[in-house]
């Protein structure tokens, strides 16, 4: 061939992306052309597409997406918001802090970033704008806080990382709890600071203990979900995949029998929406698997990791380089493609440097979560823009302060392994 096949593969993929080719198609077509040029058997195409989707662990993806949309339709998200509002709504920038707190909670129900933005943003963005917050600020904050959705368990990103790196998904889930809260804290501090500077007030009235109790009781069904999911996984009652399905059933129960906001026609729409949402992810999973197969068999992954190790074998340097690479990739690609394309390169390095793969999984997940809010390709930004009727350029400016806070959190998580590893070790996992 006229050039190194794997370099050709990456270049072709990049070229196809420029013209708004769906990422899944770009990955697939670039791989197919390369396979054809190096005379590898094309029969690998359908078998890889098949083998990469027929994995029980990945069923967690449609289940957790379903759980998220069901909880929203069931009225759980609005009750969570109300509860957070009576607790902290009165302080300066109260509504912004409410947004961060409810995102952290909803992240413990939903496994997807854009789903979290959609579920909470449609209520919170209009509410914040009505209370006098800047539209760009409100939507940028929601997009950013929604990214916590894939850091705090359950998380689609952790499921996929666990499948690729062959790490316990349950342990990854536990490891993600504190880092998710760290990101949340960072966002809360920034929004408090900005709110004070711009004079965004609270809702003025401090709620009484009685009011807080009523709101708590009303939100209790939603607040129980993370307890069921994480408790069930930790207690060994069910696997993460099963937990996802149980969460969806629990949401349906709450929606039909407790809050009574769900109806059968609504359920049909929810099932279709979640199937479509998970199929978008799964088509990327299957074509990215073909891409990953190609760079592994071509020896490109090994070459790239050797080159990186030659550059430096210092842990903190390598982790910094990896973080920067993934941040750049995150501007153009989604979380799942990044995992499939780059993990074959990173995992051998991590093994050589004795980095705990669970800790590394958390670092990468926090990083690709930031990728959901970096333009030009940032799924959370798209969702927030749609809700607020803003252009990508408008929201991109407002995202900056939050982006910086998230990157600071990423650095903390990268260089303080205990943030990720303490909780699983205390739980004896």
């Amino acid at each position: 061939m006229f050039m190194e096949p794997s370099i050709f593969l990456f270049l072709l993929f990049g070229f196809l992306l420029l013209w708004n080719t769906p990422i899944a198609v770009g990955l697939g077509m670039a791989s197919l052309v390369t396979i054809y040029l190096i005379d590898a058997p094309l029969a690998v195409f359908p078998t890889t597409m098949y083998a990469s989707t027929a994995k029980f662990a990945l069923l967690a993806i449609p289940f957790f997406i379903l759980a998220g949309v069901v909880m929203e339709a069931a009225g759980v998200s609005s009750r969570l918001i109300k509860f957070a509002d009576v607790c902290v709504g009165h302080i300066k920038g109260g509504l912004a802090i409410v947004a961060v707190i409810t995102c952290c909670f909803f992240a413990a129900i939903s496994g997807s970033g854009p789903a979290t933005v959609a579920a909470l943003g449609s209520i919170l963005i209009p509410a914040m704008v009505k209370a006098g917050y800047d539209k760009g600020f409100s939507s940028a904050l929601m997009a950013n806080a929604g990214a916590i959705g894939i850091i705090i368990p359950p998380s689609i990103a952790f499921v996929v990382y666990g499948v690729i790196a062959e790490v316990s998904i349950g342990k990854l889930f536990m490891a993600g709890v504190i880092p998710g809260l760290v990101v949340g804290l960072g966002l809360a501090i920034v929004s408090y600071y900005i709110s004070r500077k711009r004079g965004y007030g609270g809702n003025g009235k401090r709620a009484s203990v009685g009011e807080i109790w009523v709101a708590f009781k009303d939100a209790l069904w939603g607040l129980m979900t993370p307890v069921i999911i994480l408790g069930g996984i930790y207690g060994g009652i069910f696997t993460p995949t099963e937990a996802a399905g149980v969460a969806a059933v629990y949401g349906l129960f709450v929606g039909f029998f407790v809050y009574k906001e769900l109806t059968l026609p609504k359920l049909k729409k929810l099932l279709i929406d979640s199937s479509v949402g998970s199929a978008v992810v799964m088509l990327i999973v299957s074509s990215a698997s073909l891409f990953a197969w190609l760079i592994t068999t071509e020896g490109a992954a090994q070459m790239a990791s050797a080159a990186m190790l030659e550059f430096s074998s210092e842990r903190w340097v390598i982790l910094l380089i990896i973080n920067i690479l993934v941040l750049i990739a995150g501007c153009f690609l989604d979380a799942i493609s990044i995992f499939y394309i780059l993990l074959p390169i990173f995992l051998p390095i991590i093994k050589m440097l004795n980095v705990d793969p669970v800790w590394f999984g958390v670092i990468l997940t926090v990083n690709v979560a930031i990728g959901q809010i970096t333009p030009p390709v940032g799924v959370n930004l798209y969702v927030a823009c749609n809700i607020a009727n803003l252009s990508l350029t408008d929201i991109s400016k407002s995202v900056m302060p939050f982006l910086i806070a998230s990157i600071v959190a990423l650095l903390l998580i990268t260089y303080i392994p205990a943030l990720s590893l303490w909780l699983p070790s205390v739980l004896g996992m």
């Binding site: 708004n20 770009g26 027929a54 449609p62 009652i237 279709i272 479509v276």
Partner: protein
């Protein structure tokens, strides 16, 4: 001959209209497949957890059955996603192009996408042929393996149709996706 051509044009015209029976049937087939497959997967998964704890027997085949259904639902869901334009891409450059250029680029990308699914369809038939020849069966249920992998062929066909439809619609709207 002239009559035939007339009929074909009439046929193509009617396909373009949204109320053509084919699309109605296709839409509801797709929708109901997605509803029933995800619903079944959820129920089977829940039943498995419950039976393990109440009856302390695990329904061994559920895991296999849900995984197999999942293969089907992934590719049919991808077709539904194509109809809604839900597949992710980097649109910044194309969005800022003049509309004629946009139209051409979108058409090229659509053709490329169609090529991929056509190839997937053809290659998956080869895979099925081998599986039938070798009489491969799934481990727990003993189901013929090709029944599962047919999800890829049917899904590729659905994706082909939906991406073609989406591409055609955007061509008519001057390239906008």
């Amino acid at each position: 001959m002239a009559r035939l051509i007339g009929r074909v044009t009439l046929f193509i015209k009617s396909i373009r209209g949204g109320d053509f029976l084919f699309w109605k049937v296709f839409d509801s087939l797709e929708d109901w497949f997605l509803v029933l497959s995800l619903g079944t997967m959820m129920v089977l998964n829940f039943a498995n957890v419950v039976s393990r704890y109440l009856l302390s027997t695990s329904i061994a085949f559920t895991e296999e059955l849900t995984t197999n259904l999942f293969v089907w639902s992934c590719f049919i869901g991808a077709a539904a996603a194509a109809k809604r334009g839900a597949h992710l891409g980097f649109s910044l450059i194309v969005d800022n192009m003049p509309s004629r250029a946009q139209r051409i680029v979108t058409a090229m990308v659509t053709l490329l996408t169609l090529a991929m699914f056509a190839l997937l369809f053809i290659m998956s038939l080869d895979m099925i042929e081998t599986q039938i020849m070798l009489k491969q069966e799934t481990p727990a249920l003993g189901m013929p393996e090709w029944v599962v992998s047919m999800g890829i062929s049917v899904g590729a066909l659905f994706c082909f149709i939906r991406f073609a439809q989406a591409g055609w619609n955007s061509w008519n709207k001057g390239g906008r996706q």
